[in-house]
Symmetry: C2
Subunit: 501 residues, 2 copies
């Protein structure tokens, strides 16, 4: 078969997989937003059916033949051409998909389902012993999976590759170490300082007004509501159903409107990345996001570098005051200080901007130790509590607020956590690079001008799709290797401002 | 292969097709309720992908082998067993699916898409000449399809079979003729009589209150809102996403709350049929609706035999008066008379209960004449206007309000229209049979008791799935062949009451 013809077959194959994937996305979205209570059983069957068809098509042996007919030909000589990028990524995902024997895939799917329901049952009772066997089984299967997939340095990398193509634990470790040391040092400087005044929470924010305010903010930042929508869910998320359809959700705290505000800005950051991907390449790697960490760099940039900035509050606070009478006497300065406060706690998802990364690094350390065989699953609770003491100076009152708080491990998602902090690190590097080109963005934000930043992100990151892997993208856009220095500088400046240091 | 094993394969095959089908249902539902404006192009691609996969699986040659291994075996000797019913219907749909060559399927899909967009463009200008070529092509292709599918008596039956398995035009004609003669006679009796007082329309009905009232009525009738939901769309519809998930939609007229009320009761009638189907047979014909006409018999029974009845209004009018102050001085009697009024008009979807069937029969007559080669497509407008004069005494002012008003023909849906009036006829027969067993339901309705009727429908119709074809179901449940007499009696009594005859 001619390479051009084979490439055409691969394009059709890839687009079909994408449509199946985004249709599963809609099944999930509907399940969390609009499904009637009695519809859940059937929804699980629909999702299982589509997942099965997706897997069958993904491992179609003809795709292997088409790839062989294209690789090494003239069509893919230019490494950053759409053809070369697509063939590179198709090969990566195809090889991974066909390497996993069906018996392992089935065992993993079952263990994940059991793990999640065991966790859901055990967590409210803080009952580690009831959850541990499921986790032991999952760790065993994921180690087996890593061996089947193969790796250059260590087993953990094989799992990491699912979320962060090409990343290596050994490359992440020094970057995280630098961040951890600086963070703990900064935390020490803040200890015993007076907290910013509580000026926002504990007031009355009608939900309908919160929704209106969140939509208005998201639209002003650049989220295209003609190509998205906002719904209410228990846990906020964003999902891309396809070009022109990147949806976000949030939850509302009736006494603290910044809860919804920051989750909407965060999810809108994800969705703007989706909205910026090149439509003509939809359904192929060239039109996809680079990695989870790059996705997170976008959401965290909008949430923290924009949403918690003094400029943002200078611009939006008068608007918030109009919508929420409770804020009439709260200045932009006081509000911004309040949303910049640092307060070590047990729970990752409630953590402030500074301590959040300590929570993530703790998980990364532990799952890496488990995968390296240096820590047994049974020893996780003790190791967790020890690290909490070291990093945050806190001892969790129970496992539900400690080692059992997150859903990820119960679903076997080892290798996922580090993408959160990588996202923060990349956000800081990207933001610094944007600032270098665009000039000081604080003044722009204070004038309500967010388009220059979005335009820069579109050009430098969104439009590139998966052309470059995350590390290479950081290198290309910023001229530097991944480096925690920019994040440390940003956090230091923010804390110094909030605490008058 | 053993018949039992083959049957198991067929079950899995059938359930996979069902999950693909209901997933397409969700894609469509979302497209009409929540999709952002820019998401439509991608949605068309998602639907096309799933339709293609559905067709590939539906025509899987192994299904033909499995069917051959089951047919004629002990497994299917009892004709009303789940096994026999499923094999009978799988054979029907499989044979039809494999008979259509791909070239014809593609040509039809294209002609349907072109026909619909031509109609959408031409209708506002009432431009028949612009639409005619598309319709000529569609009629040609549908005739070709009928020949490929084969038929006993005439080509029309092959198309009708898609919507009404086993039905024959020649059997429908005499039933419709009797109804038409009686309807025209009844219309003559009403001519020049004073209309019921306009007591409902032209008032102020806040949309939020309309929605609340509609939900309350639907729930009271027996629509399980834990297994369904109500959304707002341009055109009301119902869709079953699977067991436990039968959704309805409506539109709202701010000046006439009965517009939404009757559409919700109608769609809830469809949805209650879905909710009553045996869950254990979901994904197989035994767990499906019998036919479109039986589906319509349920929606029309709840809309007209229940929703427009004096008992319904006696029970609900005090509640409506509480919600809508505008109705405070409107008696149940006057409201019920108003919703029973007869007023011949041009538009089918706006027609009253009596003249509605004349609209349907007109379309049936014309499409039958076209398929029989007795009428050319070019002659449709003149024939339409002539029949409007004969049946309703009206001449449409333009084609947009005449031959071009409905979307069906532009999508090639010949054979669909008769199911509307068959549904009304069956509703009357079923209702009479229910009344014979349960006693006078007027008093029950006036006490707000709708469960006895729903229970009867569950037992006699819903729980049977596709065990019996529509005609056989009517015969089994009512002891009689399809007969318009019961509908005529009902309409006569309703008009005599509304017009004090």
């Amino acid at each position: 078969m001619q390479s051009r013809e084979a490439y055409g077959k691969l394009l059709a194959w890839s687009r079909e997989l994408a449509h199946l994937g985004t249709t599963m996305g809609l099944l999930h979205w509907d399940q969390r937003t609009h499904i009637p209570p009695k519809g859940h059983d059937n929804r699980a069957e629909q999702i299982a059916t589509l997942a099965r068809i997706h897997h069958q098509r993904e491992t179609d042996p003809r795709a292997g033949e088409w790839l062989a007919a294209v690789e090494g030909t003239d069509l893919v000589t230019e490494p950053e051409s759409a053809e070369a990028v697509n063939v590179r990524e198709w090969r990566r995902s195809y090889d991974k998909a066909v390497k996993i024997p069906e018996s392992l895939a089935v065992a993993l799917a079952k263990a994940q389902a059991h793990g999640q329901s065991a966790w859901e049952k055990a967590k409210p009772q803080s009952d580690w012993a009831a959850f541990q066997p499921s986790l032991v089984e999952l760790v065993g299967l994921r180690k087996e999976q890593a061996e089947v997939l193969g790796y250059e340095h260590e087993a953990y990398d094989a799992l990491l590759d699912d979320y962060e193509p090409g990343a290596k634990a050994a490359e992440i470790e020094p970057v995280f170490r630098a961040l951890r040391v600086a963070t703990v040092k900064l935390l020490d400087r803040l200890r015993d300082l007076e907290q910013p005044k509580t000026v926002v929470v504990g007031k009355d924010y009608p939900l309908i007004d919160q929704e209106r305010a969140c939509m208005a903010v998201a639209a002003r930042l650049g989220y295209d509501l003609e190509a998205g929508r906002l719904d209410t869910t228990m846990h906020p998320f964003s999902t891309c159903i396809g070009p022109g359809d990147a949806r976000i959700t949030t939850s509302y705290d009736p006494q603290d409107f910044t809860d919804a505000l920051f989750s909407v800005v965060h999810e809108a950051g994800h969705a703007m990345y989706s909205q910026g991907q090149p439509k003509e390449h939809h359904g192929t790697p060239r039109g996809e996001y680079a990695s989870l960490s790059v996705h997170e760099s976008q959401s965290r940039m909008w949430e923290n570098f924009v949403g918690r900035s003094p400029g943002f509050w200078a611009f939006f606070q008068p608007y918030f005051q109009m919508i929420f009478p409770a804020l009439r006497d709260v200045s932009a300065h006081d509000a911004q200080r309040w949303v910049s406060r640092v307060q070590p706690g047990y729970i990752r998802v409630q953590a402030d901007e500074l301590t959040y990364n300590l929570h993530v690094m703790l998980r990364f350390d532990l799952e890496l130790a488990v995968m390296r065989g240096k820590l047994g699953v049974a020893d996780l609770p003790e190791a967790w509590d020890g690290k909490m003491q070291d990093y945050l100076g806190l001892k969790p009152p129970c496992h539900a607020k400690g080692v059992m708080q997150d859903v990820h491990w119960s679903g076997g998602l080892f290798g996922y956590f580090p993408t959160y902090t990588l996202g923060n690190i990349y956000a800081a590097q990207f933001f610094a690079a944007a600032q270098q080109e665009l000039g000081d963005m604080g003044d722009m934000f204070a004038r309500g001008e967010f388009a220059p930043l979005l335009g820069w992100l579109r050009r430098e990151i969104h439009s590139r799709g998966k052309t470059l892997l995350a590390r290479d993208l950081v290198q290309r856009v910023t001229g530097q290797e991944p480096d925690a220095r920019y994040l440390v500088e940003h956090l230091t400046a923010r804390c110094e401002r909030a605490y008058y240091l």
